[in-house]
């Protein structure tokens, strides 16, 4: 009798799986509507959720705002769907496959908010013809649009970030030549994200003669005792922090515990948001971080956000969190995507556009000061202008400091030194093209199409 029961259970479970598989096997139903579909890869769970949640909220809230305030992009309604990646590359790829075919014209573009997922998707977007926008993260060499046709690291890369930080401390020391003999420690998340700045820091170290200490921290970064013991022994003059999620606040707490001055710590812009410093309490005072786009604060767009989205009860988060650093970054990322579509609509008409058409828009972005003011982002970003050769569009950044309650811009804006970065980008992109047999585009020829 026991066996019979087991059999029943087995049959039932097999049946369920089969039904579900059958549902999955049937492809997406295509409904021709006047809609532009944006997938949203988020992480609202796991070790990186404190950062993923505000970013994800800002991202989808901006779409809601555009729908409510402007009636969509040029009359085309925005639709979106979230997919949880948990910052894991394999789930990110699954989400990509899940969402790429949705909507009347397929996914407009992807913004994975993870360098690991960016690396994995970079290979796929060539074939699927979907732009991959990584505003201020992703792989630095993808600036080179002649090789990375579908990647858009809009507004800054980690090489710019590292370059600007070196420039900043050089200025503080009274000239880049004063860096000779100094020690700079890079405390980094041991993943593609954390390793990205290393080539540039090494290049600069050759030029200026500072010593670079590389201190990797394994995922998720809550165990850093050994790292900070090394810092105590080696006494670096500066610490650069390339962390994400709980790793950032842990680092700051460890710095407090080991008595390392927070004034000499510089975080990349992903290590410079409220969830990174608040857990360390007063200890975080004086800690610095880089900003590319979107510092904390409120502007015209936030007023609109409260009026059109939050007052109607449509907001994804709490109204008081509107204006946090990561919320603003999510919003700016969504804004870049919307502007890319707007630009593409000039050329292709006000209708749902395919990823391929939006790619043209992203490659010909021209968001100048006037345009920034018009969309209400004054003070939250620098002008961005992309070309076929330069998919980044802006190379400026500032430095902000935490005073215990708020972030303040303390220095900048700096312009990253393209003389140093460009050859690195060329070399790395050329290597990728050779390894993957990717054809290199001729921009002069492509400009017309």
């Amino acid at each position: 009798m026991k066996l019979a029961k087991k059999m029943k259970i087995l049959a039932a479970s097999v049946g369920t799986v089969a039904t579900v598989a059958a549902v999955m096997a049937s492809g997406p139903v295509q409904a021709q509507a006047k809609e532009q579909f944006f997938p949203s890869l988020t992480y609202r769970t796991g070790a990186y959720a404190p950062n993923g949640v505000p970013f994800g909220n800002g991202y989808v809230d901006y779409f809601k705002l555009v729908n409510a305030r402007d009636g969509g992009i040029g009359g085309v309604k925005i639709t979106f769907e979230e997919c949880e990646t948990g910052y894991a590359t394999d789930r990110g790829v699954e989400c990509y496959e899940r969402l790429k075919g949705k909507g009347p014209t397929g996914a407009t573009l992807f913004q994975p908010l993870s360098t690991g997922i960016t690396f994995a998707l970079t290979d796929k977007v060539f074939k699927d013809k979907i732009p991959l926008v990584t505003a201020g993260y992703g792989r630095a060499d993808s600036v080179d649009g002649t090789v990375f046709k579908w990647n858009f690291p809009l507004g800054g890369t980690y090489w710019d970030a590292a370059d600007i930080l070196i420039q900043h401390i050089g200025k503080k020391e009274g000239g880049l030549d004063k860096l000779k003999g100094k020690k700079i420690a890079l405390v980094y998340h041991d993943s593609p994200y954390g390793k990205e700045p290393i080539p540039l820091l090494q290049e600069r170290s050759k030029m200026h003669g500072y010593e670079l200490l590389l201190l990797p921290v394994t995922h998720p970064g809550v165990e850093q005792k050994a790292t900070w013991l090394q810092i105590r022994q080696q006494r670096p003059d500066y610490v650069f922090l390339w962390g994400w999620g709980v790793m950032n606040s842990t680092s700051i707490k460890e710095a407090v515990a080991s008595g390392y001055p927070r004034e000499k710590m510089y975080g990349v812009w992903w290590s410079g948001a409220e969830p990174d410093v608040t857990p360390a309490g007063d200890g975080a005072k004086g800690y610095n971080a880089l900003v590319f786009l979107a510092p904390a604060g409120q502007g015209q767009v936030h007023k609109d956000m409260i009026k059109y989205v939050y007052d109607k009860g449509q907001g994804s988060g709490k109204a008081e969190d509107v204006g946090e650093v990561l919320y603003n970054r999510g919003m700016v990322s969504a804004m870049m995507a919307v502007e890319g579509v707007k630009r593409a609509q000039f050329k292709y008409g006000k209708k749902p556009l395919t990823g391929e058409q939006v790619r043209w828009g992203l490659e010909n972005l021209a968001i100048d000061a006037a345009a920034i003011k018009k969309i209400g982002f004054e003070g939250f970003m620098n002008p961005v202008g992309t070309t076929c050769v330069d998919h980044e569009g802006a190379h400026t950044g500032s430095v902000q400091a935490w005073d215990g309650k708020k972030w303040h811009i303390t220095a900048g804006p700096y312009e990253s030194d393209l003389q140093i970065i460009k050859p690195l980008i060329r070399a790395s992109a050329a290597k990728y093209a050779a390894e993957k047999h990717v054809p290199v585009r001729d921009c002069a020829k492509d400009a017309s199409s």
Partner: protein
């Protein structure tokens, strides 16, 4: 009624020794293979291939490899993702540095390199056993993680430590679309599964099982522990190394050392525990359970038309997945493969239960 071997007489040793002695099993297997190679490419969507079938096939192969060691030879290893990474990086470097090499050759060589590394880390098994051995195999995990993250040569000096692969080309046949990837994997996995099935019926497999059941007794009847244990480590690492190369080249396309971390090792172990230790079929059940179930659970609310926040869905996914693992282990501690064989036993008697 249908599933009964009455009247199927074996008149030769050959017939007695064949892999599937019952006619109905042979028909079923034939139909299954027909479905896998002919039917499936027409039925499933690209999403289903890329997100479920391809990872399922690769991890079945890895689970199969681990099952040879843990299930058949009784040596616990919680460092098998390390051997996967050896296979993946070996294949990457072979393809990169010897471009004229056919991918199939590179795949086999990658497996062999993994086997050599597996043999090295298998040496402690000669002195220690059980949980102590498990701890020793952890060393492999951490050592490989360290080596591939720090020794730049392995990753061809990639700035971020992430490597990416070119499209596989086998005698001009480009493995570039989801269906082709699936067919390629299905072929490789079928070959390796048949090999494994035969291997465990051979003298080597019997030596492993004797070693698993009682090593002292096995030694007394003339089985050399050095030989049995080390071959198990070698063969198992070979399988897992091949799976690792496929995981990198066919499924991921580009990866970082984190792709082969301890979580993957543990997942492989869970696969064979849930699927069934010492069972080829169980490896497949286990892999399907671990790979596909979380994704199906994650997507279920959407199909059922229940609106839920993405965070809620992920939390539910973890909760239901966890409770299902417990449920299946309580219903059948010996794994899903045991349920399958109970099912077959029942079918033999059906419709007369006694």
């Amino acid at each position: 009624m249908l599933y009964r071997e009455n009247g199927q007489f074996k008149t030769s040793y050959r017939a007695d020794q064949q892999m599937l002695p019952i006619l109905q099993d042979r028909i079923f297997m034939g139909l299954l293979l027909l479905f896998v190679f002919v039917g499936a490419p027409f039925i499933f969507s690209d999403y289903f291939f890329l997100s479920i079938l391809i990872p399922f096939l690769v991890l079945s192969l890895a689970a199969l490899g681990l099952n040879l060691l843990v299930g058949y030879c009784g040596q616990i290893s919680i460092g098998h993702a390390a051997f996967m990474s050896v296979g993946a990086y070996a294949a990457y470097n072979l393809v990169l540095r010897v471009p004229q090499l056919n991918f199939l050759v590179a795949l086999i060589l990658a497996g062999l390199i993994a086997a050599v590394v597996g043999l090295l880390f298998g040496i402690p098994s000669l002195r220690i056993r059980g949980l102590y051995l498990a701890v020793a195999t952890l060393a492999a995990q951490f050592f490989m993680d360290w080596a591939f993250a720090r020794v730049k040569w392995f990753t061809n000096y990639a700035s971020s430590g992430s490597v990416s692969t070119a499209t596989i080309d086998i005698f001009g046949w480009q493995v570039n679309s989801p269906v082709r990837k699936y067919l390629f994997l299905a072929a490789v996995v079928t070959v390796f599964a048949i090999l494994a099935k035969n291997l465990v019926r051979s003298h080597m497999g019997r030596a492993w099982m004797a070693m698993r059941d009682m090593d002292v007794a096995a030694e007394v009847i003339g089985i050399r522990p050095v030989y049995a244990k080390l071959t198990a480590f070698g063969v198992s690492s070979f399988y897992v190394g091949v799976a690792g190369a496929l995981w990198g080249f066919v499924h991921l396309g580009s990866w970082e050392p984190l792709a082969f971390n301890i979580t993957l090792s543990l997942n492989l172990l869970f696969m064979i525990i849930i699927g069934g230790m010492g069972s080829i079929l169980g490896s497949f059940f286990g892999a399907f359970f671990i790979v596909a179930l979380p994704i199906l659970l994650n997507r279920a609310p959407e199909w059922l038309g229940i609106a839920m926040s993405t965070a809620m869905v992920s939390h539910l996914e973890s909760m239901i997945f966890g409770s299902l693992i417990v449920f299946f282990l309580i219903v059948e501690p010996q794994g899903l493969a045991r349920l399958w064989s109970i099912g077959k036993e029942k079918l033999r008697l059906w419709p007369f239960p006694h």
